[in-house]
């Protein structure tokens, strides 16, 4: 059985996703239970896969036994195994969180369907991670995107369907660009397998076809990961989606998009072309990333809705990841990969703690958070831990990735990037401190807050605690990402 694990990690949740809505008709709790079962299975499976990679090296699984490059190949190496573990772990955490949160925010009759779509979203993400075939990537990308659009539209607020629709339009344009890029690469090389493309593309980099293909990929993925200035779908989508959906999408959706982008850049196109021929491309992305880092934080300061503030904060964090990628050196890339890990943890904790407050109260305005620090201590302490981590205080995960990004910048001699990193951290201090000030140091109305159920608090606190644990035991993610970077650099 274990030799089929790479595909079972995808197939079993997929099948369960189809069963969940049906089972939900018998008893609504079954659909949640099946979702939890599916995500737990995926998590255990991904841990086993990463373990196997650490001991025996990269796993290559041939779908249906067909040999690549004719068949579809699933590849688990340090990079994909690492991201797979992160995504499946956060999926488990958010699923536990979702039980009461979703029951509160979504219409009763729609809940079984919700869990079906929710599981399909996770399946889509995981498929994007494990696949080694770029068209398969497109298929899973669209699975996760479509379900994402639907999940966003299920929010309680009036604006949710419109936010979902706008996300759909922009997202589909992006996905179609990616499809075009895939098509152009196929025209140029005749293969769809990522490793094969990596072997065949060198030598073709002068052709306009390949250059255009990369341009399409760049735009398409920039839309998917909400890289400034193609980020406009993100604030509304994260704000109006149900709390559990925001938590899951913010922490995994854009990260998997970044993962795929990194795969395309390093495995399909290969780092050499960016160092030798297309030299202006990394510089271009460095500028965009720096602008994203600063503008995202500046826009976040102006927000009055806490979810929107966190959404703009995500825009700036994506900038960090792309900065690490665009540095085109091993340490910088390691910083980017670490930030994928760290930001996923931090944002999940932040959105879940906001969800705890919104439970049964619908409070999302920062002004309404006054005095909540002592009424909801655990979730607010979790929020503070996430905030400190985003600012980059040592002993939190945020510090580790910023440290590596700074080192990567100096490796290239680009010391001017360090002020950018530092200034955006200080900006983060400004907008997070405003919230923390409201929470702990201002008196609120004597409103009785409903008690937060344990099933919501425990995942929040655990994920927030991990922000501190992996900030102190930083050698664990650093080791894994270090090996991943070696593989990506070839």
């Amino acid at each position: 059985m274990t030799e089929h694990l790479p595909v079972l990690v995808i197939i079993i949740p997929l099948v369960l996703a189809l069963i969940a809505p049906v089972a939900g008709r018998l008893n609504r709790i079954y659909s949640w239970a099946i979702a939890l079962l599916a995500t737990l299975f995926s998590f255990v499976g991904s841990v086993l896969l990463l373990h196997q990679v650490m001991y025996s090296g990269t796993i290559s699984y041939w779908m249906g036994g067909w040999e690549p490059p004719w068949g579809i190949e699933y590849v688990i190496d340090y990079f994909s195994g690492f991201v797979l573990v992160i995504v499946s772990f956060l999926a488990v955490a958010v699923t536990i969180f979702a039980r009461k949160s979703v029951a509160d925010e979504i219409d009763e009759k729609k809940i079984p369907a919700f869990y079906g779509v929710y599981l399909l979203f996770i399946v889509g993400l995981m498929g994007m991670i494990v696949t080694g075939d770029i068209f398969n990537l497109y298929v899973f990308l669209e699975i996760s995107s479509l379900t994402g659009y639907a999940l966003v539209a299920m929010g309680k607020r009036r604006k949710a369907p419109l936010a979902g629709f706008r996300y759909l339009v922009i997202g589909t344009v992006g996905a179609t660009f990616i499809l075009l890029g895939i098509g152009y690469l196929y025209i140029a090389t005749g293969t769809l397998n990522m490793a094969d493309l990596g072997a065949r593309l060198p030598g073709l980099f002068n052709s306009k076809l390949v250059i255009t293909a990369f341009a399409f990929f760049a735009i398409g993925f920039s839309i998917k990961i909400a890289l400034f200035p193609l980020h406009t779908w993100l604030p509304d989508a994260y704000t109006y989606a149900p709390s559990a959906v925001s938590a899951l999408m913010a922490s995994t959706g854009t990260k998997v998009g970044a993962y795929s982008f990194i795969r395309i850049i390093f495995t399909v196109f290969g780092v050499q072309v960016f160092l030798n021929q297309w030299v202006s491309v990394p510089y271009f992305f460095l500028i965009i990333a720096s602008v994203a880092m600063l503008v995202g934080s500046i826009l976040a300061i102006a927000q009055t809705n806490i979810k929107k503030m966190l959404a703009y904060s995500s825009v700036s964090q994506i900038g960090y990841i792309i900065l690490g990628v665009a540095l085109m050196n091993p340490i910088g890339l390691q910083g980017g990969l670490l930030h994928i890990f760290n930001h996923a943890l931090m944002k999940c904790a932040l959105f879940m703690s906001v969800g705890c407050i919104a439970y049964k109260t619908g409070i999302t305005n920062i002004a309404d958070l006054k005095g909540l620090g002592f009424k909801k201590p655990y979730s607010m302490v979790a929020f503070t831990a996430g905030a400190l981590s985003m600012i980059g205080i040592p002993l939190t995960v945020g510090f580790v990735s910023k440290w590596y990004l700074a080192m990567g910048s100096l490796e290239n001699g680009m010391w001017y990037l360090i002020p950018v990193i530092v200034i955006s951290s200080v900006l983060m201090l400004v907008y997070f401190w405003r919230v923390i000030d409201n929470i702990f140091f201002k008196a609120g109305d004597a409103v009785k807050m409903p008690a937060t159920p344990a099933s919501m608090l425990i995942p929040t606190v655990v994920v927030a605690a991990l922000c501190l644990v992996f900030g102190t035991l930083a050698f664990i993610p650093v080791n894994i990402t270090g090996k991943a970077v070696l593989l990506l650099f070839g």
Binding site: L146, L168, V173, I187
Partner: protein, 120 residues
């Protein structure tokens, strides 16, 4: 020059159709028209993919027992998948528009944005 245009006519057609679709997505205010534009946009890409599969002198790619020149079946397979994806996108989009109509009573984006300004 003319040979250049004529030889690559499939690319020209797909680009023109794509731009028409893209224009509709951006410029039209009616949500249904946006969806139509999106669909046209995606269809142009399908046309491109299929057109590149053509092999001169090739025949239907069903093995007939003898050696023959076949056109490339792979793009067809890929596009079948992509068409299904496109159909799903359109379906989800329509579902969302129905919901929007229920909420706002209109499917003109300008009118909806006006209403939202008074909301928040």
């Amino acid at each position: 020059m003319m040979e250049f245009i004529l030889a690559k006519y499939n690319y020209w057609i797909y680009v023109i159709i794509m731009m028409i679709g893209f224009y509709a997505v951006i410029a039209k205010s009616n949500l249904i028209k946006k969806i139509i534009g999106l669909s046209v946009f995606q269809t142009s890409v399908f046309l491109l993919f299929i057109s590149i599969g053509k092999v001169d002198g090739g025949t239907v790619p069903i093995y007939q027992g003898t050696e023959a020149v076949y056109i490339n079946p792979l793009p067809h397979v890929l596009i079948l998948t992509a068409i299904v994806v496109g159909v799903s996108v359109t379906a989800v989009a329509f579902a969302l528009v129905v919901n929007i109509y229920r909420e706002y009573g209109t499917i003109e984006e300008n009118a909806i944005l006006e209403m939202i300004k008074h909301d928040d």
